[in-house]
């Protein structure tokens, strides 16, 4: 029979059925862990899902806005409204002074009733205005011929250059329409009315310079069950400090509002590493010498515990490739952007707990030993979406205010490392845009 060792016996006897109360929150942790696994969509990939959802929502919003704009408004420009003065009888002829400013042509389209009066304006080229469907109206302020379509009928009239002829078919709203006064000088624009513009194929180039304070959200996900402790200790010992970014972008803006952007984007996330190891003991031995140079005594100081601190820094250099749409409201422009951030350079410097030890900090920048590098040199494609407001400060210059977020689906760490490390970064870009 195998003889048991005395040490084995004493330990077995006292520890075999020994019990230590489990942490009070342990049951809740177990339940949460099981529920979390039962719904994998709620796992840490939530940032990816949230980012994707936001991009989809933004895209749908842009598409909806575009559809609304294009469907309801044909080609419409800016025009001036005449002030209401007196009634104009149907089929009335209105004389106008011969010094009417020169215009090229005015066209009336068949749309909704309401606005049917157009007055000539200096340097106006071609305008489309809205007229009631049953009105056949001719507004002539030029010795040329004007064509008007109403009730699917085209009427061509030739008039003097001072005559305005108005006609009606069955229905005339003219009794409540304002008097057309061609003699009055052009009025200052009372209201800048903006509608969708078509046909513009001109692209303009802009340079954008932006900087942003950012809020990074980090995800540390253990690749194996055994790395859970390590991931949790990393979360506890590394705290987000601050983040920022700066970008220089070229924006190609079309007349119709579509935008393409690319450039260079720099991002930086700073974190604080702080770890106290209570098990570490440092012994400081100090020799005390007298004035004659002889050793008087030796002081031995034992310090229990050691604290480690480090500033960790992650830096990105991205090539943004963005598409967007801008809605011009005169002084203010609203913008939607979304697209890819192609990361071509990633740098990580600092310290974290050694995965194999958990009690000792190690440097992760790999400068000492490139073989130990934990982070990838680049992480490929990230995704970006933003909504922006641009304010015209002076011709060719706009102030930009662009809140947005970007997400890097690929882990910053290499595949052999114990935990995945990803970032979801939101920020508010502030900058200027200059028309080139």
């Amino acid at each position: 029979m195998k003889r048991r060792h005395e040490v084995d016996d004493i330990f077995k006897h006292k520890l075999e059925h020994h019990a230590v109360p489990a942490p009070p929150d342990m049951w809740d942790r177990i339940v949460q862990a099981r529920e979390k696994r039962a719904y994998p969509l709620m796992l840490p990939g939530r940032f990816i899902i949230a980012g994707s959802a936001a991009i989809v929502v933004l895209s749908l919003a842009a598409a909806w806005w575009l559809y609304q704009g294009h469907a309801s408004a044909p080609e419409v420009g800016n025009f001036y409204l005449s002030p209401i003065s007196t009634e104009i009888p149907a089929s009335a002829s209105v004389s106008a002074d011969t010094d009417v400013p020169e215009i090229a042509q005015t066209t009336v389209s068949t749309v909704s009733p309401g606005i049917a009066i157009v007055r000539p304006v200096d340097k106006l080229e071609t305008e489309t205005i809205i007229a009631p469907p049953s009105i056949a109206a001719t507004v002539i302020a030029d010795p040329q011929v004007a064509e008007i379509t109403a009730d699917n009928q085209t009427i061509a009239e030739s008039t003097d250059n001072t005559q305005v002829s108005l006609a009606r078919n069955d229905w005339s709203p003219l009794s409540h329409l304002p008097t057309l006064s061609l003699t009055s000088p052009p009025m200052p624009l009372p209201q800048y009315i903006k509608c969708a513009r078509f046909g513009g194929s001109t692209w303009r180039l802009h340079l954008e310079a932006l900087a942003a304070p950012e809020l990074p959200m980090r995800e540390l996900r253990p690749r194996q069950t055994e790395a859970q402790t390590y991931a949790r200790l990393r979360q506890q010992t590394e705290q987000s400090d601050y983040a920022l970014s700066a970008a220089l972008r070229l924006a190609l803006v079309s007349e119709s509002g579509w935008v393409l952007k690319t450039g260079l984007h720099y991002g930086q996330v700073n974190e604080n590493f702080s770890f106290f190891n209570p098990n570490e003991q440092r012994i400081i031995i100090t020799d005390i010498y007298g004035s004659d140079g002889h050793l008087i005594r030796t002081d031995t100081i034992v310090v229990n515990g050691a604290e480690y601190k480090a500033d960790n820094r992650y830096q990105w250099l991205d090539l943004p490739v963005l598409a967007g749409y801008e809605m011009d409201f005169g002084k203010v422009t609203f913008a939607l952007n979304a697209g890819a951030h192609i990361n071509f350079l990633l740098s990580a410097n600092g310290q974290f707990l050694a995965p194999e030890d958990l009690q000792r900090p190690v440097s992760f920048d790999g400068e000492d030993n490139p073989g130990n590098r934990v982070f990838r040199p680049r992480i490929g494609v990230g995704w970006y979406a933003s909504m922006g407001i641009l304010y015209n400060v002076k011709p060719g210059w706009q102030l930009m205010f662009e809140p947005g977020f970007r997400i890097y689906p690929r882990s910053l760490t290499r595949s052999h490392f114990d935990v995945d490390q990803r970032y979801f970064i939101s920020g508010i870009n502030i900058g200027v845009r200059r028309a080139l």
Partner: protein
């Protein structure tokens, strides 16, 4: 209670947890490097218990089954490197002179602290052999090491424990 766990009955699961958590946590503390790791082992082990409870055959004791899961979970946190760091020549040291009564004065917390001060490899083998009662062959299979490695680690673990106890004895005197 076990059948309730098989039906994913939350109350039965909670009852199992409250009945065995304290004993299992003490086991986790013996294997873990620190308390936080012990908590993680306990959490993972109970998740495995609930996930695999359908595989429990009522031939043995339920506590023994849970205990094996806890031990196996704890062992996953060890790499084979833990058994490479040996203190050469330690097994040749003479047994320290320890008064037999000193063992009686050591309480459970002190014994746990002594085990915690052992190097990883020593601690695992000592726990498995001395307390859980596994043979060297079983330990070798579980840890994928040689039987001789298991034996030598056990001897060294004992020596180190005895040395630590002797030091404790000196301090007490």
């Amino acid at each position: 209670m076990i059948k309730g766990c098989m039906r994913e009955d939350r109350l039965c699961q909670q009852e199992v947890f409250h009945r065995y958590a304290s004993k299992m946590f003490a086991i986790c503390l013996r294997y873990a490097r620190h308390r936080m790791e012990a908590e993680d082992i306990l959490q993972d082990a109970f998740i495995k218990v609930y996930d695999n409870i359908n595989q429990f055959e009522a031939k043995g004791s339920f506590e023994g089954w849970i205990r094996r899961i806890v031990v196996n979970t704890a062992l996953k946190n060890y790499s084979r490197k833990s058994f490479a760091s040996e203190q050469i020549g330690m097994e040749n040291l003479p047994d320290p002179a320890i008064e037999p009564t000193i063992y009686d004065h050591l309480n459970e917390e002190e014994l746990l602290a002594l085990i915690a001060s052992l190097p990883h490899g020593y601690r695992v083998v000592f726990n498995l052999y001395a307390i859980e009662g596994y043979s060297h062959k079983e330990i070798a299979d579980m840890l994928e090491i040689q039987e001789s490695t298991s034996r030598s680690q056990l001897v060294k673990a004992r020596k180190m424990l005895q040395t630590l106890i002797e030091e404790t004895q000196k301090i007490a005197v």
